[in-house]
């Protein structure tokens, strides 16, 4: 309903109308009118961060774990430039967030005013869309449109730059319904897929002898119903299911049809099945280079179906035989419906030889590792953490590197929206603030950031935010005193010359936790690990757990560069990892 109010009040009103309960932000000169409006209401709760990058990742964690739009509020200039990393991260991983950035007053734009920067120019290529609002008359439409664009189609980050004079100006506010953002002039994302194409896909599935479902973040983004439909379709068909890093949780880790993650550090069975399949059904994944490996040797003999809401993902990296542009959930629902009209049997018999072959690959135990009585192996630490939390509603975030891949391999998820990680951009420092955002959305859940000692220091200051808002996040650091993945690549490709890949002058993480008002726990003994984990889980408050692990453990299995899926490095090759890529392989890449 139309009402007179200031631009700053419109911002709060629009947030309320959009159902926003929490925003993550940091005040500053140009944002003060909005902060003043925030102060005078109690519908939207503001979480004060320590650095704007933290606010962005918190909003991402919030969005990823709830399916809602995460909201960030920052000031002009440095406030805006500090959210560039999370914006890019959200764009790469299709996470719906709306960033409200303040701007200097319109008459000063372009004058190099204090804390001025070209925010829309800087963020144009790292947002799904962005706006500079030059008049309060446009503000209500832009606010509602931003939420619509962020959450629909392929979700992504949207930024609204609001000059200070626009925040002060009086104007007429309209709600989303009056504006009719869904009737946008040019933005009409695809929803349901083409029925004829879906029928054709089911026909292919009915004829397949070596099929595989390759699922991705699109299934999670589509909502929990999509994961339900995926489970139903998998059960109906009896086909094996693998997933990308971003799609973990959409299919239960305990299901016998689950193959584990695929890709560079995926399981042997998942990658071999991708290579040898005759029908690949990609649902909401984008053939990222970490998945495909060598593209000219990627799954050479398969017919490929690709379900994606973004038409530009189709045929971008891999040639597709049957594209279906649409929302994963809706397409899966149709697939289930059509499958049921064609048959009431899974293809158990027809694909029995395929499952037998998969069983053979599984016997390679590609996630195996040599455990130790004296040193904590990082994989073992994650397995113990998983076992200790199995009866809890647990949300896992990660930083980026070896620990992230080990977490993806050894922690198993039964539900979607429980796994928050930076996939496409690979942002070290994502996990701690993301955990804060998840805990804000789920105050009673157990939220753990599986971290590395290098990554976690990039956004360490947000532990202070967790302490301030009594958010009992657990930071589980696999501390190998190395940037482990960098070190592994240096072993693989650069003759073991460890250029700047170790963590020197590390802080005492226990004392650091205590300095912030959190609890610190240190453990370096495999015999005491379970007790230490229990102590962490029992503590009602934020914890930094410094888990000292084997320093030179390699993250395996691995598809080395220049190799196809069927030439993985398995744990038994570990001794001579530097010799795996031959001279010819290095020439190739």
């Amino acid at each position: 309903m139309a009402e007179q109010m200031t631009g700053a009040e419109m911002v709060i009103q629009a947030l309320t109308d959009q159902g926003v309960e929490h925003i993550f932000g940091y005040p500053g000169g140009a944002a003060l009118p909005i902060y003043d409006a925030l102060f005078q209401q109690d519908k939207v709760q503001h979480i004060l961060v320590r650095h704007e990058q933290g606010a962005g990742h918190m909003a991402e964690g919030y969005a990823r774990s709830t399916g809602k739009v995460g909201v960030v509020l920052v000031t002009s200039g440095p406030g805006a430039t500090n959210v560039v990393t999370p914006l890019t991260d959200a764009l790469m991983d299709s996470i719906p967030i709306v960033v409200l950035s303040a701007q200097v007053p319109t008459p000063l734009i372009g004058s190099d005013a204090f804390q001025e920067c070209d925010t829309v120019g800087i963020t144009r290529s790292c947002t799904k869309h962005n706006y500079l609002v030059k008049s309060v008359a446009e503000l209500p439409r832009v606010l509602h449109e931003a939420f619509h664009i962020a959450r629909t189609g392929r979700p992504g980050p949207v930024l609204i730059d609001i000059p200070k004079d626009v925040q002060f100006a009086l104007g007429t506010y309209y709600g989303a319904d009056e504006i009719g953002t869904t009737r946008h002039k040019s933005y009409h994302p695809a929803t349901s897929g083409d029925i004829a194409a879906i029928e054709q896909a089911v026909d292919l599935m009915l004829r397949a002898e070596r099929p595989i479902f390759y699922t991705g973040g699109g299934v999670v983004n589509s909502g929990p119903e999509a994961s339900e439909k995926l489970r139903e379709l998998a059960e109906l068909t009896g086909f094996p299911v693998t997933s990308t890093l971003m799609g973990l949780g959409s299919f239960p880790g305990s299901n016998p049809q689950w193959m584990g993650m695929l890709g560079m550090h995926g399981t042997y069975e998942a990658n071999m099945a991708m290579h040898d399949c005759d029908l690949m059904i990609n649902i909401g994944a984008r053939f990222d280079d970490r998945i495909t490996g060598r593209i000219d040797a990627f799954s050479p003999n398969s017919t490929k179906i690709h379900v994606d809401i973004d038409p530009s993902s189709i045929n971008k990296n891999v040639r597709i035989d049957l594209p279906i542009v649409g929302d994963c959930g809706l397409v899966l629902e149709e697939m289930v419906r059509i499958w049921r009209t064609r048959t009431n049997q899974p293809r158990t018999e027809a694909i029995a030889p395929w499952w037998k072959q998969i069983e053979g690959w599984r016997q390679r135990h590609s996630l195996g590792f040599k455990n130790s009585d004296t040193t904590i192996k990082p994989q073992h630490a994650i397995q113990r953490l998983y076992q200790a939390t199995r009866d809890r509603d647990v949300y896992i975030t990660t930083e980026v590197g070896q620990h992230q891949m080990w977490a993806a391999q050894h922690f198993h998820f039964e539900q979607p929206n429980r796994w928050m990680t930076s996939g496409g951009l690979g942002t070290m420092g994502y996990g701690l603030p993301a955990a804060v955002g998840v805990q804000v959305a789920h105050p009673d859940a157990l939220v753990i950031d599986i971290a590395g000692e290098a990554s976690v220091q990039m956004t360490m200051q947000e532990i202070s935010t967790a302490v301030q808002y009594r958010l009992p996040i657990k930071i589980f650091i696999l501390n190998n005193e190395r940037m482990g993945m960098v070190r592994q690549w240096q072993d693989l490709l650069h003759g073991g010359r460890y250029a700047h890949s170790y963590s020197e002058s590390l802080p005492d993480f226990v004392k650091l936790a205590e300095a912030y008002g959190a609890k610190g726990i240190k453990c370096d003994d495999p015999g005491k690990l379970d007790a230490a984990i229990a102590e962490m889980l029992d503590y009602d408050g934020p914890v930094i757990f410094d888990c000292l692990v084997e320093k030179h453990e390699n993250c395996l299995p691995m598809i080395p560069s220049g190799k196809p899926h069927n030439e993985m490095i398995l744990p038994d090759f570990e001794d001579d990892i530097g010799a795996v890529i031959d001279e010819k392989g290095r020439q190739l890449v």
């Binding site: 144009r124 933005y187 280079d289 060598r294 593209i295 530009s312 189709i314 290095r586 890449v589």
Partner: protein, 184 residues
């Protein structure tokens, strides 16, 4: 130097390009709003696409629509990506690959300044007449011609003007439209 030619290792695999690049004219219908040209141009630079020619102007004032004609050189696979990536931009209504859809009409306007005296002036005017170029400015020692047509015709005219005292040229870039009754 391209990474795939370097002997050292890499975390990325680069396949050799097998398709041949082609020159295509795209017509892009967009909302005439601030920053739209930056979005389109930024997309080309960010994703490493080429722009050979670019023409922008409002075409339907009441609806606030502009038409961008862009000429690009790319392999068929990349051309498809360019079209789909352009369509992802929120203010973009439609993208048509005019080259792929049939022989489109392509026209360009150039202003050509030529300075000279005596016999050269006579020859200049004679050639301008043959190319249907209009004299839009004249002094005792110079002419400015307005010439329109296909880019190849303008190229020929400019080449002929070089020995006759060509001073400078400005070209609008390509305006293109499909043949037949259908519009975008």
């Amino acid at each position: 130097m391209n990474a795939h030619l370097q002997p050292s290792g890499s975390a990325y695999f680069l396949a050799a390009e097998t398709q041949k690049p082609e020159r295509h004219t795209l017509s892009v219908l967009v909302d005439n709003e601030p920053g739209i040209l930056a979005r389109v141009v930024g997309l080309f630079s960010a994703r490493g696409y080429n722009i050979d020619s670019l023409t922008v102007s409002e075409t339907e004032h009441e609806k606030g629509l502009s038409r961008i004609t862009v000429v690009t050189v790319a392999t068929p696979k990349v051309l498809t990506q360019i079209k789909l990536q352009l369509e992802r931009l929120v203010p973009v209504h439609k993208v048509h690959d005019l080259t792929a859809e049939g022989k489109a009409l392509e026209r360009e306007l150039a202003l050509v300044k030529v300075a000279g005296s005596g016999e050269h002036r006579v020859e200049t005017l004679r050639l301008a007449d043959a190319f249907r170029a209009q004299v839009v400015d004249a002094t005792t020692e110079s002419f400015v011609f307005e010439v329109t047509g296909k880019p190849s015709k303008i190229d020929s005219f400019i080449t002929l003007m070089v020995p006759l005292g060509l001073v400078e040229v400005v070209r609008t870039g390509l305006a293109a439209i499909s043949r037949g009754p259908e519009g975008m």
